[in-house]
Symmetry: C2
Subunit: 140 residues, 2 copies
């Protein structure tokens, strides 16, 4: 992943966006925090580490980055949106108890599903992306 600032700046710039300190800070926070932070966590991180940033700006930046496909929104059972810096295809494990979300990559499963939808078409629907949400609980 794009862990250093130069790469982050480059990612933003390549998407045709102005490289502002706020955008860099938000994207850096998402990469550093990992584990699908909320807007709130991102703000907290930025305010702790760096400078001040307006709440509205966080949401603006997140929206912009999402539009450009640099980050993704993550679905949750709760009403708070979360953000994910990994945009390669992957799935999520949702723990009912702890509300943790963990990434789950499984190329074999992807392959099986891709093959399945190659032969089977859904009428009147054009498939872009398939995400699998696996609910259960983490054993410790």
């Amino acid at each position: 992943m794009k862990l250093n600032i130069a790469n982050i700046r480059n990612t933003i710039s390549t998407a045709g966006l102005k490289v502002t300190p706020q955008r860099v800070a938000v994207l850096e926070a998402i990469y550093k925090l990992g584990n699908h932070p909320t807007a709130d966590k991102i703000q907290e991180y930025i305010r702790g580490e760096h400078s001040n940033i307006a709440t509205g700006t966080i949401y603006n930046v997140l929206e912009t980055l999402t539009e450009k496909g640099i980050i993704k929104k993550v679905l949750t059972d709760k009403d708070v949106m979360r953000y994910d810096g990994i945009t390669e295809s992957h799935h999520h494990l949702y723990c009912r108890k702890t509300e943790k979300i963990k990434d789950y990559q499984d190329t074999e499963l992807d392959e099986i599903i891709r093959n399945y939808f190659k032969k089977k078409r859904i009428p009147n629907f054009e498939v872009d992306e398939i995400k699998i949400q696996i609910n259960g609980k983490f054993k410790k």
Copy 2:
């Protein structure tokens, strides 16, 4: 589905819940409205059709019905929770453009996935349920 009032009352009662007019109205609304209504849509429907109902009650009832497995919460990319009266295993088609959610049942696919996870275990995770979210767009 349980379309008539007698069945709805029975569903609520069998779950060990008191059969109140509000619970009946909410569940009826979910069945009648279909298409995964929001709490707001449910309230609108009830206020139009029947009597008044407190907003807090809608949320209370939805929570209670969800706990008993009579309805399910549906994940969305937006921050508004939606509710589903169908609790048999099924998946959802999400349209990026119209934000419509359509049910998608596919027993063949379920079978493939069930078999897959029979042989492949995810370390430290106990799987309860697998949901597939298919993003794309409806062709008209």
